[in-house]
Structures are given as C-alpha cells and as structure tokens.
Assembly symmetry: C3
Homo-oligomer: 243 residues x 3
C-alpha cells in the first residue's frame, strides 16, 4: 500500500481537490490518498508549511503533496524533496523544507520540466498538471532525474514578534489561537483580558481564557466552551500584548 497525502489552499468546496485526486488515480490507481486539509488561507505559504510539518509525523511514510503556490506559472521551481524515505512534492517557496528536514537531510529534484507532466501544462493549475502526476509517478516507485543542491531551496524568513507581544499564527475552526510566543511564558494578561495558564480547556471556568501547550508543543490560547478569536477580536497575523 502506497500512501499519498495532500494539503493545499484550494478550499474544501470547489472541484480542484477532486481533480488532483482524479489525475493521481488515473496514473497510480492503487495509491491511497489522505487529505491533510485544504483550508489553508489562500496563498498563505507559512500556514501551509506549519500544518504540513505538524501533520507528517502522524501519517504513513509515502509521497506528500502540498500546494500553496502564489507564484504558480512564474519563475519559482517545482520540486520533489527526498528525506527519510519520504517524498515531498510542491512549489519551491518554503512550503516543504521544514517538514522534510524533520525526517533528515533532504535531497532536491527539479520537476518543473518533468516528462510526467500533463500536456498542455496550464499557467495557473500546476497542482493538476505538474504536481499531481509527479506525485503519482513517485508513488509508483519511479525516480526523478534533475537533482540540484538543496542549499539553494527557498526558505521562509523567520518573523519575530515585538517585545512583550506575540503573533497570532493561526486561528482554527474552534477559534483557538496558535501563538509565536516564547515557550515557558506565563503571562497573566492578554490584551485587556486575564488569562489562566492551564493544561486543557476544562481546567478553567466556562468562558475563561486559557494559555496552554497545544498538541504539537506550541503555545496556544483558547476559551473554555467558546472562541478565543472572538473574545479577543483577533485574526491570523495580528499581534497581541502578553504581560
């Protein structure tokens, strides 16, 4: 059994995700596809990279396709990375490399001119025309040829919050907030709200704000039985004051 995982910003409602599944199934009908969510905010490469890195340790080794690709059709490379027995496939814009290096040093291949592409290749849907067929052929055990120096892979610049502040990295569907805050911080206030340092939601009163360590080891804010995003009136990218 070969598994292909797939994460994108295509949204859960349109036909794009299904078309990618269809292209894969046409080439590698026995591969099993696991969707890792397609609700990455449009073109938000950082959020896609974090979700991919969080998810991959929990899925079977295989081919890991990820597409958040504001530079589609332009100069950015299309790549396949090999790390720890896994293949990661997607654009060379920082989306893949953090997740790949969790499994060891990566080898890198340029697949932008792969013979596996669907012709004619469109300028705006490389998920369908390049990445899906490449992922499917890798799942069949085939090898890409255009290897290059992985030191040239694009990496995301770290973003540092201001002093005394944290950045809201993500808001999930519960309204829980993932923070870019120093581990071990034990603030008592977030903006104008009291916050309790706790282990899980039910450790605080209903409606109370808690700071906790999320399941991937990062700091997070939640409201027991409610939405921290709504309480604080914030969204991804906002800074909050923690004191």
């Amino acid at each position: 059994m070969t598994f292909i995982t797939f994460l994108s910003d295509y949204g859960p409602g349109d036909e794009y995700v299904g078309v990618v599944h269809g292209v894969i199934a046409s080439i590698a009908p026995d591969a099993r596809i696991i969707d890792l969510g397609h609700g990455v905010p449009p073109q938000d490469v950082r959020t896609g990279a974090r979700r991919l890195a969080r998810a991959l340790p929990f899925v079977p080794a295989g081919v890991h396709l990820a597409v958040v690709d504001p530079g589609v059709g332009g100069e950015r490379r299309a790549v396949a990375l090999r790390a720890g027995g896994r293949w990661l496939v997607g654009p060379d814009n920082g989306l893949l490399i953090d997740a790949a290096e969790r499994f060891g040093a990566a080898r890198a291949f340029d697949v932008g001119a792969s013979p596996w592409r669907l012709e004619p290749v469109s300028a705006t849907f490389h998920g369908r025309d390049i990445f899906a067929p490449v992922a499917a052929h890798l799942a069949l055990g085939e090898e890409p040829s255009e290897e290059f120096d992985p030191a040239t892979l694009v990496r995301l610049e770290p973003v540092a919050p201001s002093e005394g502040a944290a950045i809201v990295l993500e808001v999930d569907s519960f309204g829980n907030l993932r923070l870019d805050a120093p581990a071990g911080a034990t603030p008592t206030r977030v903006n104008d709200h009291a916050v309790v340092n706790a282990r899980t939601f039910g450790d605080v009163e209903p409606g109370a704000l808690l700071l906790y360590t999320a399941s991937d080891g990062t700091l997070a804010l939640a409201v027991n039985g409610g939405s921290a995003a709504a309480l604080l009136g914030v969204r991804a990218g906002d800074e909050i004051r923690i004191t």
Copy 2:
C-alpha cells in the same frame, strides 16, 4: 474490507481530520475510512449525536469514530461501545449512546488508559492520541479490556420546547431547519410567515415556506429555491412560534 466512519467538529479545512486519518492508516492500512462530516458546530455534542444516529443506519457495520469533545483532557471517560456487531468510539458525553442503541443494547469499555494510545498523550487532541489508535486496533479485530456498566454512560438531557413553540435543532447548508416539534403537527404559521404542509420543495411556490418530513422522519422547514434560515432569521438553538 473493514470500514471506519469518522464524524467530528474539527471543521473541513484544518489538518486535524487528516492527522486522524494518518494515525489510523499507520496502524490499520487496509481499513477504509468514510467521513461522515466534520462540520458539527464546535463542541455541539447534541448535533453530533443526532447526525451520528441519522447516518449510521446507512453505512456498513464497522468501527464508528465520533469526536465532539469539549471535556477533552478532563475527567470524562474515553469509551468504546459494542452494539449489534458495531464498535462506536469517542468521549463519554452522550455523543455515542443514541446511535449505539439503534443497533441493540450496548456493552461499554473504558479506553482512556488503553495500551494502544499514542505516547505522549496530549491534553487537547485525543482524537489523534486516543480515539484514532483505538479505532484502528478495533478495526484490526483486537479487543479492549476495561469493561464497565453501560448504565453509567452519560446521556443527554432531553430539551423540551415551550408550549406552541419548536426549537431549531440544526440548520443545514441549504438553510433547511430541523425542528424539535411534535410529529403530526400541521401549523399554518411559523413566526409571522405562512407555511404550507408539503411533501417536497417543489410542491410549493418558489420562495414559499414549507413544513415537511425530512429523510430521517423528523419535521423540517425549507423554502423552495431559498433558505428557511434566512427567511426566518433564525439559527440553531432558536425557538420559533408555530401556530
């Protein structure tokens, strides 16, 4: 072929659903997973329980995973219920029992300390760390050991509408409303709107409000070619006057 079904309030966009799929696939790669929707309103155990009970009669017998779990990481038990040759897995908060008992009396097992758990167990993502591996091992035909008296399972208190009123239990993506109204009611008005008792949408004029028996036998309101939720300006949990 073993089927695992999966319903939750994780939302369709984040990576949580895919991570649960990945954990299951890592343990039971041949099991087939059928998603029964992940758009239960956050932490709304009642809606999750109704959807699970409505869906299970139409899916193959197997392992039925459901996670709507505001008490995650706290005192609530994590359980597996055995009924009519099916396994139901999730939190002991009333989510599972109505669905289970449609298939006969249930046996109950506490899986909160199961040796199948992923270590370290997080405080906030038991779908990944407890429920998914338990579901996967049950799909492999293994048995849990910590049986307890099912009479102690948590059950949801019934909610009764006021006299002359009905509660809007759910709003689906069409804006159709499921009601907690007495079967056989034949009202002529809902709030300030005339309503027609009808069999299906096209039996009334475009834009007209109809009361009908939904596909699971409960009463429902819809607008032909429109949204009853928008027309009435109501959402789940609201009471409406029916006269």
Copy 3:
C-alpha cells in the same frame, strides 16, 4: 478497480456526503469514491454542470454521480447516461448532459423507479435513496433497463451577457472569477479598474487585476496576491462592464 466520482451542493460539513458514501460502500465495497467537491452553491445547477464538465476529463472513467437537485421528489426524471464507456448519474435537469457529451453521444436511462432504490424512498434525499444505490450497482457492472430517447433530456438555456458586459459565472475560494466573456477579448478596464491581460498571477504587480485564460480554457479575472471578487465587489451571477 472501479471509480465512482461524486459532486454535489450538499456542503462539506453536514453528514449528507458521508451517508451517500456509506450507501455506496454497503452495495459496492470495493469501489473507490473520488469527491469532486460538494461546495456547489445550493441548487445552482449551472455551476454544478460546469464543474462536472471541467473535472471529468481528468478522472478515471467510471461512474460519475452528481446531485444538484432543486426538483427532488417532483416530476423531474432521475437518469443514468452512458457515454464513452462512462456512466453519469443524477437528476435530469441539465446537470449531466454537457459533461456526458464530451465523451460522445449519450444513451439515456430512467432510473427513478429502479429496483435498486432504497425503500422507503424519501421525498427529499434522492442522493441517498436513488442515486447512490444506482451508482453503486452500475459500478458492479449491472445494467439499467428503462432506456429513453436522449433528445428529450433537459438542457440548460444559454445565458448571454449584455453588450459590453460579461457575467461572473463562478467565484472560487481564491476570489478568482470565471467569466462568460468572448474568447480573445482584450479589455483594458473592468468596471472602474484597469486590467492587464496576462498569463499568470505573478505576471502583474501585487494587488493588480489580471485577465487570463483559466486552466479549462475559459476567461477569468484574478488579483495577484488578492481576491478579484473583493476588489470588484461582485459575486456569481453579477454582470461586469468590460471595455
């Protein structure tokens, strides 16, 4: 391996999609289901028809189930169309025929009274009670019997934009707009905004509006790094002035 694809307006969150999967799996457990998106705007047959026609050339031949069905339970026929070795299953309201004819002339079968239906057939959920079991039995290689003249199939009336205008056919999750505009048009303004004729998003400045040929060959508008729908303040069905 038999593939069944499935497109609908059921929304990604409710249990309806999963129930259809469950019914299919109960009858044809070895069939693989590929979802082609369930976010068609409620009851928008035209958008469903376009998405189905765009997607099918990229998925393996098999059984293609599509349900956007405002006339459910009424007089409209339930049909299975045979074209180019594929089966298309759904309501006879124009949803299927354009996609079918891409694969050749279609034969048509009325499946509304099929012996494969789930009894009792509800008045409002034919996806579950008629279309899913029909799709599953076709996937098993069985044949329907009630053939009729495909010339009597319902077809959608073409909609023509006003002179100097284009209709926004669809808005995807990126805010990109698909237009019903004459191919080869090279306008310089859309409403009050300058537009650049370009090949892909990155060919224009960030925030600039571009007109491009989408991956299915139709004309489309986008904003590099943004949302054309938000910039223009339009939604599906609106007309825009192109000059």
